[in-house]
């Protein structure tokens, strides 16, 4: 049903070039379904039923002049098509990837791309999206309405971008999905059911893109990355609720089937020989989980991958993780030197920077610096289990 909602909305939206009216019409169709299906039974072709009802709603609204006049032609066309096609067995095209590209269009505020995708392609409730993005439900609702108005007014096209734009546009889609997944992962497992679900939603979105664009290596790279992380989700928390960092996780607690799927996606991606940031991040995770087989972590390989990654995508996350990897491979002084070149004001409230810095200063036997850095890392932490872990480490 979740898949059908996204497919239906994508199809209707692309016909109208408008998400707003399509959402309303589909919403009314769903209400009608809830009212009649319990009594009359679920139709043989539920999607076709919903589509027909949604189209009729659009016609009604057009008649009552409640649909914007620029849609009148599109609505007439829809009605003509539905009158002429057999609704039973009708297969309508999957326009979800076009809808994703609309949500990640340059004209849409980057902070809204993932929320839009979650709401339109997956039908996630705006209030739940708001929780994850640390915004009030009313504010998120307003922002989503404004974004959808922008889609209509800027006449954002419902199409896969042309080849010359595709790499950046696709990257915007993948980045939004990755951002949503990252929010889902910040919580200790089970501590917040909503956030955990957001990680699942992000994986679902990644699967949608992979289904629609299987020949894009970065798409498969992203899915591989999310699956590698997902495979270790349970390992992050001990039975008594304590945070367990990657280096201390027992590989037996990682999900082998999910890792298998991730490895398959990464292998498929590498066949295209077009490396990119998500394939590199996935490759790094692949080396980490290889510890299950080899009993050790190949830090030299990880350093090589980070070296390439920061050239392609020099985010603070990547650079701090690179410093940590360099420290493992070449000693804490080398790692600290890499942290030192990062802009102080930019990392002032970036919690992972301080956690890594504290760890390295402690290894270098610089206790006062370590204590100060641990203090920052603790003060900036949001997850109580991570806070507790750092407090214990700091001693």
């Amino acid at each position: 049903m979740r898949t059908q909602y996204g497919r239906l909305l994508a199809f209707l939206s692309s016909e109208l070039r408008d998400v707003d009216d399509a959402e309303d019409a589909l919403g009314e169709a769903l209400v009608a379904a809830l009212a009649s299906w319990p009594n009359d039974g679920v139709p043989n072709e539920p999607a076709a039923w919903l589509l027909t009802v949604a189209r009729h709603r659009l016609v009604d609204r057009a008649r009552r002049a409640r649909v914007r006049t620029e849609h009148a032609d599109a609505v007439r066309r829809l009605v003509f098509e539905s009158a002429n096609s057999a609704t039973a067995g009708e297969i309508f095209p999957d326009r979800r990837v076009e809808l994703l590209f609309v949500c990640a269009h340059p004209a849409i505020d980057p902070a809204l791309r993932a929320p839009l995708m979650l709401q339109t392609v997956l039908g996630v409730d705006a209030a739940r999206i708001a929780q994850a993005f640390l915004v009030s439900p009313a504010t998120m609702g307003q922002r989503l309405v404004r974004a959808k108005r922008k889609i209509r007014e800027a006449r954002i096209p419902f199409q896969v971008p042309p080849a010359r734009e595709l790499p950046q546009r696709l990257d915007a889609v993948l980045e939004a999905i990755y951002g949503a997944f990252g929010l889902g992962r910040d919580e200790a497992a089970g501590a917040d059911a909503d956030r955990r679900d957001l990680a699942d939603e992000a994986i679902w979105l990644a699967r949608v893109v992979r289904e629609c664009m299987p020949h894009e290596p970065e798409v498969r790279g992203l899915l591989a990355l999310l699956l590698f992380c997902d495979a270790r989700r349970e390992a992050r928390t001990s039975p008594d609720g304590r945070y367990v960092p990657l280096s201390e996780q027992d590989p037996a607690t990682w999900s082998a089937p999910i890792i298998g799927e991730a490895e398959a996606e990464l292998a498929e991606a590498s066949r295209f020989e077009r490396i990119g940031r998500f394939q590199l991040e996935a490759a790094i995770q692949s080396v980490h989980v290889d510890r299950a087989r080899s009993g050790r972590t190949d830090w030299a390989a990880i350093v090589v991958f980070y070296d390439r990654l920061v050239r392609v995508a020099p985010t603070f996350g990547a650079r701090v993780a690179q410093a940590a990897a360099v420290a493992e491979a070449s000693g804490p002084a080398a790692g600290l030197a890499m942290l030192d070149v990062l802009d102080a004001t930019a990392v002032a409230t970036y919690q992972p920077y301080w956690a890594v810095r504290a760890h390295l200063l402690r290894l270098l036997d610089r206790p006062s610096g370590a204590v100060a850095a641990y203090g920052r890392a603790i003060g900036l932490a949001e997850d109580p289990a991570v806070r507790r872990f750092l407090i214990d480490r700091c001693g």
């Binding site: 409230t349 203090g375 920052r376 932490a381 949001e382 109580p384 806070r387 407090i391 214990d392």
Partner: protein, 124 residues
């Protein structure tokens, strides 16, 4: 922009203030306070409150004092402290509120200060 952060705590949180001083709760608060200072967000005028039972509430009804032992509202989570912060936006305020140790157990409210009203009162 100036915000007040109102910190609502559970009775367990209030209990956690008691010695031994090495309690993780104390460590978490120290680190949080220091992080706020170092980020230039902490304005001052903040303080933790004594336990709710030490509160006394007064109202005037028909010109007579009505004094009640205890806090104004008997809710599960009680006001345990407040801070005045100076931050660029509500988003920043929410980021810091999420880091507050009480956010995980009780609740944290951020509210903008009505600076204009304050000015009217304290000037002239």
């Amino acid at each position: 922009m100036k915000y007040v952060m109102l910190i609502y705590e559970t009775s367990a949180d209030f209990e956690a203030r008691k010695p031994p001083e090495s309690e993780p709760y104390v460590a978490a608060w120290r680190a949080y306070y220091r992080a706020l200072l170092e980020a230039g967000a902490y304005v001052g005028g903040g303080a933790p409150l004594e336990v709710p039972g030490t509160g006394t509430t007064i109202q005037l009804k028909d010109g007579r004092r009505q004094v009640q032992d205890g806090p104004f509202a008997e809710t599960k989570d009680q006001l345990g402290g407040f801070m005045i912060l100076n931050l660029a936006s509500l988003e920043d305020a929410l980021e810091w509120a999420a880091r507050c140790p009480a956010a995980a157990t009780g609740a944290v409210e951020v509210r903008p200060l009505d600076v204009a009203w304050h000015e009217r009162i304290v000037s002239g």
